[in-house]
Symmetry: C2
Subunit: 285 residues, 2 copies
C-alpha cells in the first residue's frame, strides 16, 4: 500500500507553479490574481478561504478576499460579480459555497464570466467538460486527476467507480475519468447493493459525506481508493472511507486530511494561472 | 419479450402533439416553426431531413429546409445561423450533421442560440444537462427516455450500461439515465471485457455503429435492450445488436428500424414545441 500524498504533491506542484508565476511577473509586470468572494462567516468556509489565500501567498499569486455579510442581497452579490467580470486585473474568481438560503446558487454561478470561472461551475464550463472541450474543470475532480497523474496511475480501460453524483464532485469526476478512457460507473443514494459495484473497481472515488461508507469488505485487493470526504467527528477530520481497515487492501489510498483537500486548492490556483495565460494569449490576438 | 415499438409510440405521441399544435395555432395565430439547415447532399442526411419534415407535416408544425451547397464557407453558414437566431418566427432550428470537413462543427453548433437549439448540442444546453438544469437535450437520448417512459419502465436503482460515449448519444444518454436515478456504467472502445459489464445490466443502450456488437451471450436474462445503431448491410438496415438471437433473452427490446429512429424525430419535434412554449411564456413577462 502506498499513500497518495496530496499535501506533499500539492507542495511539489506549487514549487513549479511559483517559478512560472515569477516568470510571468517578469514578463507581464504582474502576477495572476485570484479573488475569493465569501458571504457570511461559516467556519468551514472561512477555513477553506484561508487555505486558498495561503496557497496563493506560497506561489506568489496575487489574492484578495471580498467578505460580504450573510444578509447581502442577491442583487448586491450579482453586482459584485459583474464588477469582477469587468475588472481587467482579476484573472479568476470564485464564490465560496455554500451561499445563504435567500440566494439562488445557480443564478450566481452563471453570472461568473466563463473565462474567469476558475471553479468551473458555470454552465458553459460544465458544457465544455460534457462535450470534451477544454475549459475550467471544478477544482476537486481536477485535483484528483492531478494527483493520479502525479503518481503515474494509468486510467485507460480501468474500471472506475464514482460514489456520489454531485455537480461539484461526482458528476464532473465521472466525466473526467471517462474522457481519460476509464470505464466508469456512477453510484449514488439510489444504487442498490453499492458493494456489488465497488468490489469490481480498479479505482474508487468516494464523495458522499457519509463517514465509513466504504469498508474493507467493499474493496477489491489492489484497488486504488480516493477519498474526497471531509467529515468532522469529534475533534477529528475523517473521510468517507474506513481508512485503517481499507488501506491494507489497496495499492494506493488517499489519507484524510492531507489527500484530496490540498489537491483541490492546488487545482484552483493552477486554474487561476491558466486563466491568466489565456488572457495574455488572447490580448496578443 | 416485448418489442419497444418506437414507430408506434412516436405516432401516438404525435397525435397528442398535433392537438396541442392546433391549440397553439388557435391561441397564438401560428404554429411552432422548425428550420433544418442541410449542407451538401449526403444521402443519409437527406433521408433524415425528409423524415423530420414529414413528422412536422403530420403534427402541423411549420417546417422549412434551408439547403446549402457543400462548398458553403464557414462564414456564410455562420451568417445563416445568426439570421435564424434573430428571426422571431423561427422557434427552433438544427444544423444537420455531419458537416463538410472544412467547417468546424463545434464553432457552428455553439453559434446556435441556446433557446432555439432544439438538437441540444450547444455548450450551454450540454452544461444544463451536466448540472441537472432543464434545457434542450439531444434528440436521440431524449427519444430513448420518452420510449422507456411510454412503456413505464422504471429506472431508479437499475443498472444501466451505455455502450458508446459520443457527445450526441452516449454521454448525454448516460447523464439522463443518471439524473433519473439509474446506476450507470459507460463503456467504450477502450473498455476491457465489454461482456463483463453488459452481462450485469438491467438496461443496455448501445450506440456504436458496430454491427452485431451485442450478442446473446452478453445479455442477462430479462434485460432491456435499446439499440441506437443504424447500419446499412447490403440493402438492409440493422442496429448494433444481434437482434434475432438477443431478443429471446430480453424483457424488452427495440427493433431496428422502427425503434429509436422514429423516437429521435419525435423528440426533436417535441423540443420544437417546447421552444415555442418557452418563447410564448417569456414574451408574457
Amino acid at each position: 500500500m502506498q499513500l497518495l500524498e496530496g499535501r506533499k504533491t500539492a507542495r511539489e506542484l506549487e514549487g513549479k507553479l511559483q517559478e512560472r508565476v515569477l516568470e510571468m511577473i517578469e514578463k507581464h509586470g504582474r502576477a495572476p490574481k485570484l479573488v475569493v468572494v465569501l458571504v457570511g462567516d461559516n467556519p468551514a468556509s472561512l477555513s477553506y478561504v484561508k487555505s486558498k489565500e495561503k496557497a496563493c501567498q506560497r506561489t506568489k499569486i496575487d489574492s484578495k478576499i471580498i467578505k460580504l455579510p450573510k444578509t447581502v442581497s442577491q442583487d448586491d452579490l450579482l453586482k459584485v460579480i459583474r464588477d469582477l467580470n469587468k475588472d481587467s486585473k482579476v484573472d479568476g474568481f470564485i464564490v465560496q459555497l455554500p451561499l445563504p438560503e435567500h440566494i439562488d446558487e445557480s443564478t450566481i454561478l452563471n453570472e461568473v464570466a466563463p473565462e474567469k470561472d476558475v471553479d468551473g461551475l458555470s454552465l458553459l464550463n460544465a458544457g465544455k467538460l460534457m462535450n470534451r472541450q477544454s475549459g475550467f474543470v471544478p477544482a476537486t475532480p481536477k485535483g484528483v486527476m492531478m494527483l493520479l497523474n502525479h503518481y503515474s496511475i494509468p486510467l485507460r480501460g480501468k474500471h472506475a467507480v464514482v460514489v456520489g453524483r454531485s455537480n461539484i464532485v461526482g458528476s464532473p469526476m465521472a466525466k473526467l475519468l471517462l474522457n481519460n478512457d476509464a470505464t466508469v460507473t456512477v453510484t449514488h443514494r439510489y444504487t442498490e447493493n453499492l458493494k456489488h459495484y465497488t468490489l469490481q473497481a480498479d479505482l474508487i472515488v468516494v464523495a458522499t459525506g457519509v463517514v465509513n461508507l466504504i469498508t474493507a469488505d467493499m474493496v477489491k485487493e489492489g484497488a486504488i481508493v480516493v477519498d474526497v470526504g471531509i467529515n468532522r467527528v469529534g475533534d477529528k477530520i475523517v473521510g468517507d472511507v474506513d481508512f485503517e481497515n481499507v488501506k491494507e487492501k489497496t495499492s494506493y489510498i488517499t489519507p484524510v486530511p492531507g489527500g484530496v483537500g490540498p489537491m483541490t486548492i492546488s487545482a484552483l490556483i493552477h486554474n487561476t494561472m491558466d486563466a491568466f495565460l489565456n488572457k495574455m494569449e488572447n490580448s496578443k490576438k
